[in-house]
Symmetry: C2
Subunit: 428 residues, 2 copies
C-alpha cells in the first residue's frame, strides 16, 4: 500500500458510487462469483494461510491466536455458504421505509441506500475479510479492510478474491481494498469527508482509542459485561442450565455471562447452581451472603462487579429485589446483553421494559446475542453504542437512508397560512 | 449551573430511566401539561423574553438576531400547537420493528427504545427549547439544553415549563436541564459514558469543533450546498419557478438553492430564468458559457462552486450532460438536498438513484427539505451525516432499538451441527 491514503479513499468513494447505483442483480452476481472463487482458489488460499501460520509459529505466537488464524477447507466451505446466502437475499438497497403524500402530486419516500465507504479494522481471523467484505457488497458499500499483521498473506489472498469478483462483473475493484500498517490507518482516520464509518473489531481499548482519534463516526462494542439474574421465581433447574451455558459455552465471547445476580428468594437453590458451575471448572467470586449459600467461593471485591473476565470466572452477588438487580445492571453493566430467569410474568415484563441494554432476555442464555443466531445472516460486529445500530449488526447496519421527493413543480411559497396546506397522508 | 457536570449528567441519566420506562400515556400527559403551562405562563415568558431583547438592544446586537430572539403570542401559540400534536402522537417507545421465531418457544423482537441522554447546543432562537424538549419527552429521552447566552432569560422560563410539566405528572424534572456557559459544555463533552448523543444546531464550524472534541456521537449538519439541475428536458416555466423559489423563499435557510447546474440543452431558456432571478434581487455568478446566455452576470471563480451563500447570490454553471451534473453535485455538494427539473422520466430516475444526498428531489423546490414539510411533526435538525438519521430528524432520530428475546430455558449449546437448528421464521 504505497499510494497516499487520500487516493485510496477517493478511489473507494468513486467505486462505491458505481457499485451502489448498479442493480441489485449485479451485486448478487458479484457475490455468486465470490463464492465460486473461494472454491476455485481453495488451494492457493490455504497455501497463503500456511505461510502466515509458519511465520506465527516461528515468531512464537500464542496457541489460541494461531487457532484463530488458521483456515481450513471446512472454514472456507462455511464462508462460501454465507456468501451464497447473501447472494440470494433480496436486495436491501432502494427498499422503501416510508411513502407519504405531502400534497396531491407531491410524494415523499424514504429508501434504504448504501452507507458509503467503510473502514473496518479487525484482528487475527482472516475469515473476517470475507464475512465483512460480502456484507459490504450486499449493502452497496465500499470497504477498506485493515487486518492483523499476522494474517497478511491470508488477507491478501482473500481481498484479491473480492476484487476479482467485482472486476469479473465489470465493476470497479477499488470498492474493496486491503490496508496494511498503522500509519495507513492513522492517515485514513483523518479523512472524514471520504470515509463514512469506522468499524473497529477488537478490544474496548482499541475502540476508545479510535473514537478519540477521528471525527468519523465509530461503530464498535466497548465490552461485554453480561448479567444473568436468578429471580425468586426462577425455575431452579433452568437457572442452573442457563448459568452454566452462559459462562461455559464459550467464555472468551463478549456475550458470555460475567455476573450472576441472585434474588434473596433464590438463595435456597444457589448451592446446586454453584456445584454445577464448579463441576464445569468455574471459579466463583461472591459477596458474603452468596459465599455462605455457595459454601465454596472466593471473596469478591468491588473490582469484580463490572469485570469482563473472558474466562471461567463468575462473579456472584445477592440482591434484595428485582429493582436492585436492575440498578446493579445499569451501574456495572456494559449495555451488551442481560438476562433474567423467572416464572413470574410481571417480573419478566418489568426486566424487558426497564433494562437499557442492546439485548435483554427472558429465560434464555446470554450466548444467543449473535448475528447468526438472530437470523441476520452474518454480522460485522455487536454494537454497544446506542446510535445507528445496536446489538448484532448485519447488513441493515451498513445502510443509510435517503429521502426522495417527486413533484410537479411545487414551490415552498405555495404553502402556508391562507395558502395550500399539506395532506401528510401515509400511503400503503 | 453550579453543580459539577457529572452530577448533572448522572441526574439526567437517572431521570431518563424513569421517564423511559413510564407508560406512553404518562409521557403524553407531560406534553399535554406542557402545552397548558405555555398558555398559562404566556405573560411571564414574554416578560423574560423582553429582558433578553432589552439586553440585546443595549448590547447593539444585529437586527436579524434580535428578530430570531423575539417571542410573541403567535409564536407561543404555534409552539403550543406543536406540543399538542406530539402529545396526541402514538407512543413510539416499544413499537416493534421485527418479530422473529428463532426456534419453537424462542421469540426475538426488535423494539424502539429511548436513545438516552441528549446534549443539544443551539443558538439564539428560544423556540428551540420547547421544540427539542418536547421531541425528547415524546421519545422518553432526557435532554440537556445549552442555548445562546443572548436568550438566557427566555430559555430559563421555557426550561422551567418543561421541568414543571414533568414534576406535575410525578416524574423527575432532572430529565430536562438548562446548561449555561462554555465550560459546562466542555465538561459535558467529556462524559461519553453518561451522554449518548450531542446535537449541535449551528454553523458547520461549531459542528466540526464538537466532533473533534468528544467521543460522544454527534448528529449535526455540516452545511447546505444545495443544487438545482435544469435538464435539457426541463419545462422552462417550471425551471424558472423552482429556481426562484429555491433561492429566494428564504435565502438564509440551509435548504436554499446555492448552485444552478444547466444542461447545455436548456441554454436557450436560461436567459428568462436569469431575468426572473435578477428581478427578485439575486446576484448571479456564472461560468463563461452561462454568462453568455444570461447576458448579465458576474464571473464565477472556483470558490463559487461549493459556496453556501445564505444570501441572494446564486452560482450558475453549464454542464455537458446529466452525468456531469451528478459528478458536480458529488464533488462540490454537501449531501444535503439536490433537485432536478426534467420531463424526462429516465433522467429523473437516474438522478434519484445516483445522487448520494440526504434528500433528492424531482420537480420540486429544494426548500421542501424540512421536518415539518415532511410530516415529521417537528425536527431537531437536518442531518447531513450518513449514520443513524439522515435529512430532517424528528422523533425517530431520538430513538434507538433493543433486541428482546423470550425463551423457555434454551441454551446456546443446544444448537449446532447435529443438534437443534434455528427456524428463523419472521412473524406477522
Amino acid at each position: 500500500m504505497s499510494a497516499p491514503m487520500i487516493d485510496v479513499a477517493r478511489a473507494a468513494r468513486r467505486a462505491q458510487r458505481a457499485l451502489g447505483s448498479a442493480s441489485g442483480a449485479a451485486r448478487s452476481a458479484v457475490l455468486a462469483r465470490l463464492a465460486h472463487l473461494l472454491e476455485a482458489r481453495e488451494a492457493s488460499i490455504l497455501a497463503a494461510n500456511l505461510r502466515d501460520l509458519d511465520d506465527a509459529e516461528a515468531g512464537g505466537v500464542d496457541a489460541p491466536l494461531v487457532k484463530r488464524l488458521a483456515l481450513s477447507p471446512e472454514k472456507l466451505a462455511t464462508l462460501r455458504e454465507g456468501v451464497e446466502q447473501l447472494a440470494a437475499l433480496p436486495d436491501p438497497v432502494g427498499a422503501q421505509l416510508l411513502r407519504r403524500e405531502l400534497d396531491e402530486g407531491l410524494e415523499l419516500t424514504q429508501v434504504k441506500s448504501p452507507l458509503g465507504v467503510l473502514l473496518v479494522i479487525f484482528e487475527s481471523r482472516p475469515d473476517a475479510v470475507i464475512q465483512i467484505g460480502a456484507l459490504a457488497l450486499r449493502a452497496g458499500d465500499a470497504v477498506l479492510l485493515k487486518g492483523g499483521a499476522e494474517a497478511t498473506h491470508s488477507n491478501r489472498a482473500l481481498v484479491t478474491c473480492l476484487r476479482d469478483a467485482l472486476a469479473g462483473e465489470g465493476l470497479d475493484p477499488e470498492a474493496v481494498q486491503g490496508i496494511e500498517g498503522r500509519e495507513a490507518v492513522a492517515a485514513l482516520l483523518e479523512l472524514d469527508g471520504l470515509i463514512d464509518l469506522v468499524i473497529p473489531r477488537g478490544s474496548g481499548e482499541l475502540v476508545r482509542h479510535i473514537q478519540g482519534a477521528t471525527r468519523i463516526p465509530v461503530l464498535g462494542h466497548a465490552e461485554g459485561v453480561c448479567h444473568l439474574v436468578l429471580d425468586a421465581a426462577a425455575d431452579p433447574a433452568m437457572a442452573l442450565e442457563l448459568a452454566v451455558d452462559g459462562k461455559c459455552d464459550y467464555p472468551a465471547a463478549c456475550n458470555a455471562t460475567e455476573t450472576l445476580l441472585v434474588h434473596r428468594g433464590f438463595l435456597p437453590h444457589l448451592h446446586a447452581v454453584g456445584e454445577a458451575l464448579r463441576a464445569a471448572g468455574v471459579t466463583l467470586r461472591a459477596d458474603p451472603e452468596a459465599r455462605t449459600a455457595l459454601g465454596d467461593a472466593e471473596a469478591a471485591t468491588d473490582a469484580d462487579w463490572g469485570a469482563e473476565y473472558g474466562d471461567l470466572i463468575l462473579a456472584v452477588k445477592v440482591v434484595e429485589d428485582l429493582g436492585a438487580a436492575i440498578e446493579h445492571v445499569h451501574t456495572y453493566g456494559s449495555g451488551h446483553t442481560d438476562a433474567i430467569v423467572t416464572e413470574d410474568a410481571a417480573a419478566a415484563a418489568r426486566f424487558l421494559r426497564e433494562v437499557d441494554s442492546a439485548s435483554v432476555f427472558h429465560n434464555a442464555s446470554t450466548r444467543f446475542a449473535d448475528g447468526y443466531r438472530y437470523g441476520l445472516g452474518a454480522e460485522v460486529g455487536i454494537s454497544t453504542g446506542r446510535i445507528h445500530a445496536r446489538g448484532p449488526v448485519g447488513v441493515e447496519g451498513l445502510l443509510t437512508t435517503r429521502w426522495l421527493l417527486r413533484g410537479h413543480g411545487q414551490t415552498a411559497r405555495d404553502y402556508g397560512p391562507g395558502k395550500r396546506s399539506f395532506t401528510h397522508r401515509d400511503l400503503e
